[in-house]
């Protein structure tokens, strides 16, 4: 016999109130399975059983308050030993009631599945798997409450009847409705199991992140009057700058230099010049943000996140590149801190890195504009009025909230970005 005592749930606690027994005397309990609940100062605590066995004696009634270390129950461990001989017997019993002869030919030892469900025979486990059922939903009628093949079939038949599961047959087919309960009422053995067909769909719940992204996208669509404008930007000057310093930067800082920090730098300058693009709307007020905090969309497995580069206008190209690499790395390993994803005043999404020419991004609320950066590629371009040259070009898009920003302003903003990038003069190192 093992004594179960009122546990000490904290240094200052001298007693506890037993609020509920989760097992009845005579009932079997596994080691670590919740056995009773206690209550102390607004905290309800489930206390697990210290041993496996049968709950032999309950010494403290529900509602009683006792000092810690008081024996509240006794567990008979011997019951476990008795039980050890049972699985074989149970398997035999279960095999005997299996209708299909094939099942009887598979008297594999019963296996215990985790949870409150007892052992399941291989046949039953296969049925559960085929029909994608949770064993906890099925009432077992076999030895020791275990689930038999008949239980599964009865469950399937009953489920077939329930109005909730399959859509009810249309009223034009009254025969089908009348037939179904009859079929369900027939003895289980007589009903051939439906062949498990390859399912046509697979249903799985969205992750919380996915749900939040979905909510946010729809919310943004509903909130803002989205308009997108496109500008072609000649990136040749930036490409040259990048070529010149790429290796040096890789060696000195350990990261490669991409186009993104140049675009971010140009955007920060344009935001300074056109503060309305760096604003948000609060009711009928315009909120101008003094800080330029640029969010950079980062793709994650199964979602995305927009970490924020604070005071982006105060950073050099190298500083921006470092921030982008750091935030993206930590976003992917889910190690961003709260203030690193909040407080953005403008966003950039770089779909060019996935080969997209251009796109129409959705505004990241409560911001009023987002810059989309397409693929930078070499293309023939007309220059100097009538000559054709090979240049590095990029299609950039700006989605803006037409509630606050008109097309003319949006295009001036884009022309500013274009001017900075096409006439890049700033040294990188």
């Amino acid at each position: 016999m093992i004594d179960v005592v009122m546990p000490q749930m904290g240094e200052s606690i001298v007693e506890g109130t037993l609020t509920k027994w989760l097992k009845k005397p005579g009932e079997r309990v596994e080691r670590d399975e919740p056995l009773f609940e206690i209550s102390t100062d607004k905290v309800d605590t489930e206390v697990p059983s210290p041993a496996a066995g049968t709950l032999a004696e309950v010494l403290v009634a529900e509602g009683q308050t006792v000092p810690i270390n008081t024996v509240v129950a006794r567990i008979d461990e011997a019951a476990v030993a008795d039980r050890a001989t049972q699985p074989g017997a149970e398997a035999a019993a279960a095999a005997a009631v299996e209708a299909a002869p094939k099942a009887a030919a598979e008297p594999a030892p019963a296996e215990v599945v985790s949870g409150e469900v007892g052992p399941l025979s291989p046949l039953v486990r296969r049925l559960l798997r085929e029909h994608n059922l949770d064993p906890r939903q099925i009432k077992g009628t076999g030895a020791g409450g275990r689930i038999t093949k008949q239980d599964v079939e009865a469950y399937l038949a009953a489920r077939g009847q329930a109005p909730a599961a399959p859509p009810p047959a249309p009223p034009s087919e009254p025969v089908a409705i009348a037939e179904e309960p009859a079929a369900a009422a027939a003895p289980a053995e007589a009903m051939p199991l439906p062949r498990a067909e390859a399912p046509k769909v697979r249903i799985e719940p969205m992750s919380i992140m996915r749900q939040k992204i979905a909510e946010h996208m729809i919310l943004s669509r509903r909130t803002s009057a989205h308009v997108t404008t496109f500008h072609r930007v000649d990136m040749t000057a930036v490409a040259r700058m990048r070529e010149r310093f790429k290796e040096q930067i890789q060696q000195r800082y350990g990261f490669s230099l991409t186009y993104l920090p140049f675009v971010t730098r140009a955007a920060a300058q344009a935001l300074r010049a056109f503060p309305l693009l760096n604003a948000s709307i609060d009711g009928t007020n315009i909120v101008y943000h003094n800080e330029i905090n640029i969010g950079i969309a980062v793709a994650l497995e199964g979602g995305l996140i927009v970490p924020v580069i604070r005071n982006a206008d105060e950073k050099s190209v190298i500083g921006l590149q470092r921030a982008i690499v750091d935030l993206a790395t930590r976003a992917r390993s889910r190690q961003l801190k709260p203030d690193e994803v909040h407080g953005g005043t403008f966003s950039i999404t770089n779909f060019g890195s996935y080969g997209s020419l251009t796109g129409t991004p959705i505004i990241n609320q409560p911001q009023v504009a987002i810059l989309g950066v397409g693929l930078v590629e070499k293309a023939p371009v007309v220059v100097d009025e009538d000559k054709i040259a090979i240049r590095s070009v990029c299609l950039m898009s700006l989605t803006f909230d037409h509630r606050l920003i008109d097309g003319a302003l949006a295009d001036q903003f884009m022309l500013k970005i274009k001017a900075v990038l096409e006439n890049w003069s700033e040294e990188v190192l």
């Binding site: 749930m9 919740p34 209550s39 102390t40 100062d41 607004k42 905290v43 309800d44 489930e46």
Partner: protein, 227 residues
């Protein structure tokens, strides 16, 4: 960079979530936490109108018939947390920490006191002097209750947590005797602090990290939360 060996707590800002969905999420996270599959979690959210009765709650503390609640659009739940009856609704910031107390202190009273401390420190950032009242779990300002606490612990894993009135419509508390006490309730808004749930979250998270001595890590939720 993270200090080596320091415990990590993931923050999940979930926006508005039904009581049932939050229960289910907590149940799943408690199990994953128990198995060591995830670090500690701090869920922050808002519930639609709901009245919940704790395991030890007295049904007579619900002052309105269920029919009235239904008509007022308020859900009603019996729940497994500690504490009596309470109301949750828009404008109230709900915090549900899923912590393994084995890795902090195995002390349920210390845990509740720590939750109070987190809220008191966060309110201090808004210039509010909040305090404890001996024998009455929760956080109080001038004798009025601003935050309620109700916790469940299973194998040292915590669930449920606290509800802090930010801009709660306090008239909804008229349906109940909050936590079985007839003490008045208050909110930050009633005390003259105009703050959004987002701003209060931003104040709570670092306090939580300080009090529980862990590093608070934001899990991926894109963009800004609308509050």
């Amino acid at each position: 960079m993270r200090e080596p060996g320091r415990r990590v707590c993931q923050v999940q800002e979930l926006g508005r979530l039904s009581y049932a969905a939050a229960l289910e999420l907590q149940r799943r996270l408690v199990e994953q936490r128990r198995q060591g599959l995830i670090p500690d979690q701090f869920l922050l959210l808002e519930h639609p109108h709901v009245i919940t009765l704790g395991r030890n709650g007295r049904p007579e503390h619900l002052l309105a018939p269920l029919e009235i609640l239904r008509r007022a659009g308020i859900e009603f739940y019996h729940t497994e947390r500690g504490g009596d009856i309470t109301y949750h609704g828009p404008g109230q910031l709900i915090g549900y920490p899923i912590l393994n107390l084995r890795e902090w202190r195995q002390d349920v009273v210390a845990y509740v006191r720590a939750l109070e401390q987190v809220i008191i420190e966060a309110l201090g950032k808004f210039g509010l002097r909040a305090e404890r009242v001996a024998g009455r779990t929760g956080v109080w300002v001038d004798g009025r209750k601003i935050a309620a606490i109700g916790v469940r612990i299973s194998r040292w894993i915590t669930s449920h947590g606290f509800a802090l009135n930010v801009s709660t419509d306090l008239s909804y508390f008229g349906y109940i005797v909050p936590c079985g006490l007839s003490a008045p309730v208050t909110s930050m808004a009633e005390l003259g602090v105009r703050a959004t749930l987002g701003e209060v979250m931003a104040a709570l998270v670092p306090s939580f990290g300080d009090v529980f001595e862990c590093e608070m890590i934001m899990t991926a939720v894109p963009g800004e939360q609308q509050t």
